[in-house]
């Protein structure tokens, strides 16, 4: 009888080497620059890809195993949540608007992140970063998918979520997150890694995911909360990758430092402008608040980010200049943003409302320097007018910032009573900006931003009506035509929360679940 000799098992380290770097080879009859054509044009110099330290030694087979395990748990909980009418356990029906904001504003970005990481994962000559990007690309598409699955149950009962991806590509305010990511994926591979891998995933991610996931936990939304936990270990990996990328690029050549600094400055500001949506979500949309936007900014950016930039000082990187302006805006951002959505409630895919007395008291206590002086009078006026049946709906389209695409709602740094206007003349046309930082981003690459698809201008060009619409006919109603183009139903998906079908249905269904009728 032959002896069965056990196959020698590879150790973890060898296994990792064989299944990542071992998969790479040196091309013999093609030039490296033909295989990796996007490596040089951004001006970043990499001398030795082997210096890349893999921050996590994960191989593809182990990756599948971990993710499959997480999926099993996630879907078991989502099923239980759905089967037990978990949607009726959220704090109150206003919370659903946070979910709408998330599915139409954030989830589509996960998908674009997937595309971005797939692209750069192909472009880097080093096998270490290629494998890391491949995994992140898979994470991102998994996140998009699990978010859609977690939230789809709400779509069975509530309005505004039915065509979230269509909305993402069209609705005026969704051009803000959309153009942010479009800007990143149309940049070169290195800028993409600094923008999304570092600035977004490392510096700002805690300000995006923690508020949504803890907001879900505080407000009884077990589906979204569980998704958040399922993504958490991925996010930790993404943060590590983001930091490794930065350090690697900076160590490779001193000429890389100013380029990377400019990208960090740009993308911290771009990301912060997108977080305007999160700020108002935290302060106005969560029926049960977790912390104020200002507190979140102080903890996650000023403290944690401050420590990070101290650490990066040894590579020659400093805190972005925009941090000074953001510090001035933290008392105002969420109030200005919520006022904007209250203005344009007729054109949005979620409902808005005015805070009640108790919520205003909370805002006053969290924002003692600004709320009572600048924002309470405005909001009390709106509340009184709404009570009289004269709810304010602003039906005139706003002027937008050419770079961040947010309406020009932001005030001068240090003077919350004056709108901040900045402008540039470029090749015979005027371009307008909300801030010095958005203006500088434009001036650095005007060729890119003159192409911006600004929703307001597109509407006025006649590009945002359903096919066959004739805007010249008597009595043409542009808002109605634009809502049709958005695939939103007037009176159902938009307007004030108080008169919404969501509010009525939720009260009725919760009544059935908790009372004997």
């Amino acid at each position: 009888m032959d002896m069965q000799v056990a196959k020698k098992k590879l150790g973890l380290k060898e296994r990792y080497a064989v299944m990542t770097r071992g998969l790479d080879w040196k091309p013999s009859y093609q030039k490296m620059e033909d295989i990796y054509p996007y490596m040089a044009y951004e001006g970043i110099k990499i001398h030795d890809w082997d210096k890349w330290e893999d921050p996590f030694r994960l191989t593809m087979d182990a990756y599948w195993k971990y993710q499959a395990e997480k999926e099993r748990k996630l879907y078991a909980i989502i099923d239980a949540f759905n089967q037990n009418n978990g949607h009726l356990n959220v704090t109150d029906a206003r919370y659903l608007n946070t979910v709408k904001l998330f599915i139409s504003g954030i989830s589509p970005l996960e998908y674009v992140a997937h595309r971005g990481f797939s692209h750069v994962g192909r472009q880097f000559p080093g096998p270490g970063p290629r494998v890391a990007c491949l995994m992140q690309a898979l994470d991102e598409i998994r996140h998009a998918q699990t978010q859609v699955h977690s939230i789809s149950n709400y779509n069975k009962y509530y309005n505004g979520m039915h065509d979230f991806h269509h909305a993402h590509d069209r609705v005026w305010f969704l051009s803000v997150p959309k153009s942010f990511f479009d800007d990143a994926i149309t940049a070169g591979p290195f800028e993409f890694m600094v923008s999304i891998g570092f600035s977004f995933e490392y510096v700002l991610t805690n300000l995006l995911f923690v508020p949504f996931v803890s907001g879900a936990a505080y407000n009884g939304d077990m589906g979204t909360m569980t998704f958040g936990f399922s993504a958490q270990s991925d996010e930790a990996r993404h943060m590590t990758l983001g930091l490794e990328v930065i350090k690697f690029i900076l160590q490779q050549d001193p000429a890389n430092v100013p380029i990377v600094q400019r990208w960090i400055d740009k993308w911290t500001w771009r990301g912060y402008r997108v977080l305007t949506l999160v700020a108002m979500m935290m302060d106005y949309m969560l029926p049960k608040r977790t912390m104020s936007w200002k507190e979140a900014w102080e903890v996650y950016f000023e403290e944690n980010g401050g420590a990070l930039f101290k650490d990066l000082a040894r590579y020659g990187i400093k805190m972005p200049d925009c941090a000074a302006q953001i510090a001035l805006e933290k008392d105002h951002l969420s109030h200005q943003a919520w006022s904007t959505f209250y203005n344009y409630a007729a054109a949005s895919n979620f409902h808005t409302w005015m805070p009640d007395e108790e919520e205003m008291a909370w805002l006053s206590s969290k924002y003692p320097n600004s709320y009572d002086k600048y924002y309470r009078p405005r909001m009390e006026f709106w509340r009184e007018e709404a009570a009289k049946g004269n709810r304010f709906y602003n039906k005139t389209l706003p002027m937008l910032c050419q770079t961040c695409q947010i309406p020009m709602i932001f005030t001068e740094p240090g003077d919350p009573t004056k709108i901040c206007y900045r402008e540039v003349d470029y090749k015979g046309d005027k371009y307008h900006f909300c801030s010095d930082h958005c203006k500088k981003i434009f001036e650095d690459e005007p060729e890119k931003y003159v192409q911006a698809w600004l929703p307001v201008h597109q509407i006025y060009q006649g590009n945002c009506f359903p096919e066959g619409t004739d805007p010249t006919v008597e009595g043409f109603d542009p808002l109605a035509a634009v809502l049709k183009y958005y695939n939103l139903e007037f009176g159902r998906d938009n307007l004030d929360f108080d008169i919404s079908e969501d509010k009525k249905n939720f009260a009725e269904w919760r009544g059935q679940a908790t009372k004997n009728v």
Binding site: T340, K418, K430, Y460
Partner: protein, 119 residues
């Protein structure tokens, strides 16, 4: 500084005046009245009389605000791109020197919004 690109990178701007069917964009903001969250964008023909904007457009846009009815237009201060500017109500936008994507604002002295909060 130019955009980093692998080859010539030249694309037409998205918002040139020829795309607005004979209109040009004009942005109008009302200082100290942030109840209206941002300045407004309008597509107006360059031949439009400036006075027709004051009388025919602004009331529908800003009229919700209790201060609007109190405006004394003779005292209103105008700014174009942030610089003091004097429009002539009887002249057209073009004759007033307004070009595509110009931004003008007006200040109404004495009127500072809801309870003086610049809202």
């Amino acid at each position: 500084m130019a955009v980093a690109a692998v080859k010539t990178y030249e694309f037409p701007p998205a918002d040139t005046v020829d795309k607005f069917h004979g209109a040009q964009l004009l942005y109008i903001g009302w200082e100290d009245h942030l109840l209206f969250c941002a300045p407004f964008a309008f597509p107006f023909p360059p031949t439009m009389r400036f006075g027709d904007i004051l009388a025919g457009v602004l009331p529908g846009v800003f009229g919700y605000h209790p201060d609007f009815a109190k405006i004394d237009w003779a005292k209103a201060e105008w700014f174009k791109s942030g610089q003091p500017w004097q429009p002539d109500a009887d002249k057209s936008l073009a004759e007033n020197g307004l070009k595509h994507k110009d931004v003008i604002r007006f200040r109404t002295p004495g009127l500072t919004g809801i309870k003086g909060s610049c809202s």
